[in-house]
């Protein structure tokens, strides 16, 4: 039978896992990781890597930073199993939300008519390629 005082004692035990040293170590790791993603800003990165590699790298760095903050600063590493009840459904909903946006928003230009394409805010080099004038009173 669970003792009502158990919750308190487990909670107190949870926080013994923290400690100043660990917090400082996480802080230093976060600073190092931030400077890692900031590296992509400098010219040598552009010379050696493509944009896609840069984006993947930055997202990987961000996810690592997020995990460090969640696990140590938010103590999720030391929490009981309830953490899965709260985090997994929320994470699934987030992914679902984003996926739902893809057909309506991300692929919205796939079925544009010619006229719509001409009137859309297109890149300048694309605009230059369009020969037909677009100012015909919207017929």
């Amino acid at each position: 039978m669970p003792d009502p005082s158990d919750s308190k004692s487990t909670e107190a035990a949870d926080h013994d896992h923290g400690g100043f040293g660990k917090y400082y170590a996480v802080f230093v790791a976060l600073c190092v990781l931030t400077s890692c993603s900031f590296m992509t800003y400098f010219p040598f990165w552009e010379e050696h890597f493509s944009d896609h590699v840069g984006w993947a790298f930055m997202m990987a760095v961000s996810c690592t930073k997020a995990s460090l903050v969640i696990l140590f600063f938010m103590h999720l590493k030391y929490e009981a199993n309830w953490k899965y009840v709260l985090t997994i459904p929320a994470a699934m909903m987030s992914i679902f939300l984003v996926l739902m946006l893809v057909p309506d928003v991300g692929m919205r230009r796939d079925k544009y008519s010619e006229q719509r394409k001409v009137r859309a805010a297109v890149a300048v080099e694309e605009a230059d390629n369009h020969e037909q004038p677009h100012d015909h009173g919207g017929k």
Partner: protein, 348 residues
């Protein structure tokens, strides 16, 4: 006998999760926040990669190192609030208060830097919507018209609301073909008459400014180029017009990063009152997403700061450290959102 309950089975009712209610509810709240921000960030990613044009960070005056500095500020504040909780647990109320104060100040620094960044955007006509936004998607006849309108208004000294109605009125005139030539002629005469005055004003400004002779000469030539381009008779060749208008926009606000040793100053930078429109493809969508994402994040920071200000006078110890843990969870989440926003907005 058969209906007798088994006496060895003792069920007990546990009314809640084995932790403080405050913490439970903070985590429930955070799980809704995760969905809120992931919807916003997800929309941004989908819009950004589905867009045909998206401005480079320097085109919209984003300064990467300022964003990196703000990231650092938030990381330090995350550390200070987690230290505050540790101090409270170890019964050190003075150190706890200092750590909360440090977090509060760091949050203020973050907001101050954000405000400075917003101000720089507004100064360059980057707003989430019209009539304040001076960004045009394409270097077309509408852009030329807006330039002409602005140069004319600059002289007459009317305010921006009048400018909007005047532009609307002009749109209706030029959309009907027979009236177009007449309107263009009229506009040309007006521009010729007023352009001279704006030029005079510009020359006076340049004469009195503390720019170097080289810059002064270049800006004068740039301005003459803009006025000439606006005054020139409308061409039916869209590509030629686009090329000219792009060159005009480049002189008003240079979009390329200075490859030479000097910082390249555009007309809008040198002469702030000009407020000429510029061509930034995808700029309006960028502004909408940027201000929405950073604005919601800043609102969360403000809420956190209000709570820190309320907590400041309270004496914390092992009996009430949970309050700091709760607000700490919230603050770490705010930091977490920025961890994703910084690369997405500044470095992508």
């Amino acid at each position: 006998m058969s209906e007798e309950h088994p006496s060895h089975l003792q069920l007990s009712y546990q009314p809640s999760l084995p932790m403080r209610n405050g913490k439970t509810f903070m985590w429930l709240f955070l799980s809704t926040e995760i969905m809120f921000f992931s919807a916003l960030i997800g929309t941004y990613i989908v819009l950004r990669f589905g867009a045909s044009a998206w401005p480079k960070p320097h085109q919209v005056h984003l300064v990467e190192w300022i964003g990196a500095f703000n990231t650092f500020v938030l990381i330090v504040s995350s550390l200070t609030i987690v230290l505050a909780m540790e101090f409270a647990q170890k019964n050190k109320p003075v150190a706890t208060r200092r750590a909360i104060l440090a977090t509060l100040l760091l949050g203020c620094v973050f907001l101050g830097v954000k405000g400075f960044e917003y101000k720089a955007k507004f100064a360059h006509g980057i707003f989430p919507q019209k009539p304040h936004s001076r960004m045009y998607e394409r270097p077309d006849v509408y852009y030329k018209q807006a330039l002409e309108m602005r140069l004319r208004l600059k002289v007459s000294g009317e305010d921006d609301t009048d400018a909007k109605s005047a532009v609307d009125a002009d749109d209706t005139v030029t959309k009907t073909d027979p009236a177009k030539d007449a309107a263009a002629d009229q506009g040309q005469e007006d521009a010729a008459a007023t352009g001279k005055t704006v030029q005079q004003e510009m020359y006076d400004f340049l004469k009195n400014s503390d720019l170097s002779d080289k810059d002064r000469k270049r800006l004068k030539e740039d301005f003459d180029f803009v006025v000439d381009a606006v005054k020139s008779r409308g061409t039916t060749d869209e590509a030629a017009l686009a090329a000219t208008m792009l060159a005009v926009s480049e002189k008003i606000m240079p979009t390329h990063q200075g490859d030479s040793d000097e910082h390249h100053v555009g007309l809008n930078d040198a002469f702030g009152d000009l407020k000429l429109p510029v061509v930034i493809p995808g700029g309006n969508m960028w502004a909408s997403t940027y201000f929405l994402l950073t604005g919601f994040h800043a609102l969360h920071v403000i809420v956190g700061l209000i709570v820190f200000a309320i907590l400041l006078p309270i004496k914390f110890g092992p009996h009430n450290y949970g309050v700091i843990e709760n607000i700490g969870l919230y603050w770490h989440f705010v930091d977490l959102v920025w961890i994703f926003l910084f690369p997405l907005l500044y470095l992508f």
